[in-house]
């Protein structure tokens, strides 16, 4: 295992300490590293809380700030945070209008957030499940929540900032999730620090097609193909799943898994954009970068969100987080 670390036991806390120190203008660290929250709260605003296993940085901590999340709870690597974290976060950021939990669809996460929700008052949840690769996986019942979660967090975050009420935010979150599809491919495995070796073996000219963001198996192991061929298959799966809805304005998000550089991501974006536009999708917003990672895994995912005017305006609304910032 080749990583910058001092001890596998302190990777998370040291990294979080650095993260919060580097962004102390906008972030505060909760006691016992239970959560990261935005420095300035807004009275009467619904609090948006997300979280999940660590190893997907900048998701979710890097998406905390004005116009997006109020708090994020980091679990151990690829492991759900525990309800006391969500409860501590909620207590810290609840501004009197309730909380919305945004949860990626993994059994551990869903059950832990459910318990926290049951132990609180005034909490609703949005569970994201944008991954069209597989219906069930080694971690989920139903589809996995992956990179599309960022899109949900951005759009719902903007609406929360503008004062939308809790039930409306939940409805909006479900709507954005419903308009979003993703699929990924891995060229190499990730290595969980505590495990010390790659999560899966993969040959020099193989790829894992439809991989999950924990390195869990996807649709199949396949020979490494050209960027165009990979994009073609991913985009076709996304378009097929969207069906009739795959027409008109959309956000195209090409996400790196941690070990793939920006040169390759833009090349994939170029392929994907052509394929989508050929079939009647109009790419009016774009995001390219490593935002929802799987530690050091080389690979990428493609996410498409069909936009309406409201969603587009909310996507464009000002945001100031460690990882996404515009308009302020």
């Amino acid at each position: 295992m080749k990583k910058f670390l001092n001890s596998v036991d302190t990777v998370l806390t040291e990294s979080l300490d650095g993260f919060v120190a580097a962004h102390s203008d906008i972030l505060v660290l909760g006691d016992e590293h239970k959560f990261v929250r935005r420095r300035e709260l807004k009275l009467g605003k619904v609090a948006l809380i997300s979280g999940g296993g660590s190893g997907h940085e900048p998701l979710h901590g890097g998406l905390v700030g004005h116009g997006m999340l109020d708090a994020a709870c980091p679990g151990q690597v690829f492991t759900s945070p525990t309800p006391d974290q969500m409860l501590a976060a909620a207590q810290s950021v609840d501004a009197g209008a309730g909380c919305l939990f945004i949860v990626k669809n993994y059994e551990g996460d869903v059950m832990n957030f459910d318990m926290a929700a049951e132990m609180s008052e005034g909490v609703l949840q949005v569970v994201t499940n944008d991954d069209v690769a597989v219906e069930n996986s080694s971690y989920t019942t139903g589809r996995r929540g992956v990179a599309g979660t960022l899109v949900v967090e951005k759009i719902v975050g903007a609406a929360a900032e503008q004062g939308l009420a809790l039930p409306d935010l939940k409805a909006l979150g479900d709507r954005v999730n419903g308009a979003t599809r993703s699929m990924g491919v891995a060229l190499t495995s990730c290595t969980v620090p505590a495990a010390g070796r790659p999560t899966f073996e993969i040959g020099d000219s193989e790829m894992e097609f439809g991989v999950g963001i924990h390195g869990e198996p996807g649709r199949r192991r396949d020979a490494l193909k050209s960027a165009d061929a990979i994009a073609e298959e991913i985009c076709t799966a996304i378009l097929g799943d969207l069906g009739e809805r795959a027409k008109g304005p959309a956000l195209l998000f090409v996400n790196g898994f941690g070990g793939t550089p920006s040169m390759e991501l833009y090349l994939m974006y170029n392929s994907a954009r052509k394929i989508f536009e050929r079939s009647g999708v109009e790419v009016i917003r774009s995001l390219v970068g490593s935002y929802v990672t799987s530690l050091d895994m080389a690979g990428c995912s493609i996410t498409l969100t069909m936009l309406d005017d409201e969603m587009t305006a909310l996507w464009d609304a000002p945001v100031h987080t460690a990882a996404l910032r515009w308009g302020m």
């Binding site: 759900s80 525990t82 059994e107 059950m111 832990n112 069930n136 996986s137 989920t140 019942t141 869990e216």
Partner: protein, 213 residues
Amino acid sequence: MTTIDTARLVAMFATIATATSADRDRLCALDGVIGDADHGIAMELGFSAARDAVAALDTGATDPTTLLNTAAKSFLNAVGASSGPLYATAFMRGAAAVKGKTTLDDADVVALFQAMAKGIQDRGKAEPGEKTMIDAWAPAAQAAGEALASGKSLAGSLEAAAQAAKAGAEATKAMVATKGRASRLGERSLGHMDPGAASAVTVIEAIRVTLTD
């Protein structure tokens, strides 16, 4: 008729913690085959936390419900895995089932046991046959109830539960996970015991041992 007091429940958590800790590597290995290899760690962490939390209580001033809720909470906050909410819910439901009692008689213990199984099922929404811990807990709870109804003692009832759990866990080997976690493995999951079902046997056996002598 056995009477279980708070102190005995404290001892029960200590025994479960020792047993799951001893079982850690086997459980991790089982989870490594069809999951993410951390189930042994989760069980050890969870039950050590529960053991420590209930050991810190003043048994004289604590009823079983409070003790079980304490165990639930500490288990929950120690474990970020699926097993955290599953066992936490089990103990919380058990706590509710014996609400108001200061000591537990045979029927109370069996009711607690059945509430635990029900809690796991409600939380995880798994059906029997889906290759989860429910395949050990559900038959165990049913066997305990039937044994008690047919006039067996608590010892006999928990004995029946332990045997049913063991058989249920064994049966998961022949199951192909069709829903949830291991389902992507398809046929690959065949022949391997579900780690959560395996640990359930360990937990139930530890409960049996501490509550029946």
